[in-house]
């Protein structure tokens, strides 16, 4: 093997010796021991590799990234070991049945049913209680969230309230409540606490709150604040007392 070929192979040899047992490197490592020119080149190469490794390792993730990932896990589907009924083939069959039933349902039911505010908050409380909130996209950039919600037919042209605007976003989802699309944006509000912002097309609610008058509500351990602005009705949902949710308005 000429030295150029040996150098190409040795370029892929990790400087920490993790590849020492890989037979592909055995011949070239032996050649480097015999050939002083190749040995010198290899020593310089490994020294550079070490410096570059240290430089790459010096990049540190933001301090809150780990918390965000763990927190997001609580609102994501987890890779559980699925039972036979949860495997793709069965799920596909079940989905086909559900789709057929859904089509039949909508064929008989021409329009979406309007929602009530209490219906939205109790559905949100149920989802939260049963850990069934799933984020469709784990993105924090507001513009990307807006685009994603638009692509998924959710209300997207809105601004987060001042209290939440500066908080880190974990992701978003579009919920389907009685056939109505409701946008959900998940915020991380310090440590591992989450607050959800729901955005609803005001016309889909039979009892939207009065414009400019936020209402605070309590349902179990979940607190809500809701208000209407323009064509949108907003709901903030978070754990704690209703008074504490006021800070996010």
């Amino acid at each position: 093997m000429d030295n150029d070929h040996a150098k190409m192979i040795l370029s892929a040899y990790r400087s920490d010796g993790a590849d020492a047992s890989d037979p592909i490197f055995a011949e070239t490592l032996a050649q480097a021991q015999r050939d002083p020119e190749l040995a010198r080149w290899f020593a310089v190469e490994r020294a550079l590799d070490e410096r570059m490794h240290a430089a790459v390792q010096s990049v540190r993730p933001p301090a809150n990234l780990k918390d965000s990932l763990l927190l997001a896990a609580k609102v994501s589907r987890m890779p559980a070991h699925r039972a036979w009924w949860a495997r793709p083939a069965w799920l596909a069959a079940a989905a086909a049945i559900v789709l057929f039933a859904g089509l039949a349902f909508f064929a008989l039911k021409p329009d979406r049913a309007p929602m009530t505010l209490a219906g939205v908050t109790s559905e949100m409380a149920r989802l939260q209680r049963e850990d069934r909130i799933s984020l469709g996209a784990m993105i924090s950039d507001p513009a990307q969230i807006q685009r994603w919600l638009k692509e998924h037919d959710g209300p997207h042209d809105f601004a987060a309230p001042a209290g939440l605007a500066s908080q880190m976003r974990l992701g978003c989802q579009v919920l389907d409540i009685n056939g109505n699309k409701v946008s959900l944006v998940c915020f991380q509000v310090g440590g591992q606490q989450m607050v959800h912002l729901l955005v609803i097309d005001r016309r889909r609610l039979s009892d939207p709150p009065v414009v400019g008058k936020p209402i605070l509500m309590q349902e179990g351990e979940l607190a809500f604040a809701t208000w209407t602005e323009g064509d949108r009705t907003y709901v903030i949902a978070g754990r704690g007392r209703a008074e504490s949710i006021r800070q996010w308005l």
Partner: protein, 192 residues
């Protein structure tokens, strides 16, 4: 009210996988995106995909490669769709925001090396970052980048050549002359 029914959560398994890999995934994402926010999003999205589809990975030893492959695909998908928010003109884009080093000199050297790494072509930067993370053998890198093993070796070799040229240029730009080690050793020691 009809809403999606999801399988139960297993936060302990997920937490372990986050603990093991999130830092290196972020480093790879940061090298690809050259932007902290996008690197966070890519890392988050990778774990989101894992949360949804990770159960398909039956061999636990494959999880690491699976995550890196997923992150890389996610990056390519975003880039192809023109949704990257990275400004290549951003003068801070290539500079790591958080360099962990106890001594300032070393931090400066790391920042300079990362700067040079960030200035390489995408193909060279991607493969070098994966290699310098030291988490993957060349075979795994081939799998992550979806290229033949032989291509990894030749591309890695070319990428290192490109890196060396940039390093040499940077050294010359600073007006520092590189003296071969041999000649230093042969030079007589001058006292006083």
């Amino acid at each position: 009210m009809p809403t999606e029914i999801l399988p139960p959560l297993e936060p302990m398994d997920f937490e372990d996988i986050v603990n093991r890999y999130y830092e290196d995934l972020y480093r790879f994402a940061f090298s690809l995106a050259r932007n902290r926010d996008e690197a966070c999003d890519l890392t988050q999205q990778t774990y989101a995909v894992y949360a949804e589809k990770g159960w398909q990975v039956r061999d636990a030893s494959k999880v690491k490669s699976w995550l890196f492959t997923t992150l890389y695909r996610e990056f390519l998908r975003l880039r192809e769709r023109g949704r990257r928010l990275v400004s290549m003109d951003d003068e801070n884009a290539a500079v790591p925001e958080q360099v962990a080093a106890s001594d300032t000199e070393r931090s400066v050297e790391h920042a300079e090396l990362l700067d040079i790494l960030a200035s390489l072509d995408d193909g060279h930067r991607e493969i070098l970052t994966l290699f310098y993370l030291q988490q993957h053998a060349y075979k795994d890198i081939a799998g992550i980048l979806e290229v033949p093993i032989g291509t990894v070796m030749s591309r890695l070799s070319r990428a290192k050549d490109a890196l060396r040229k940039k390093l040499d240029a940077a050294v010359q730009q600073k007006g520092i002359t590189v003296i071969p080690i041999d000649s230093i050793q042969k030079r007589p020691v001058q006292n006083g």
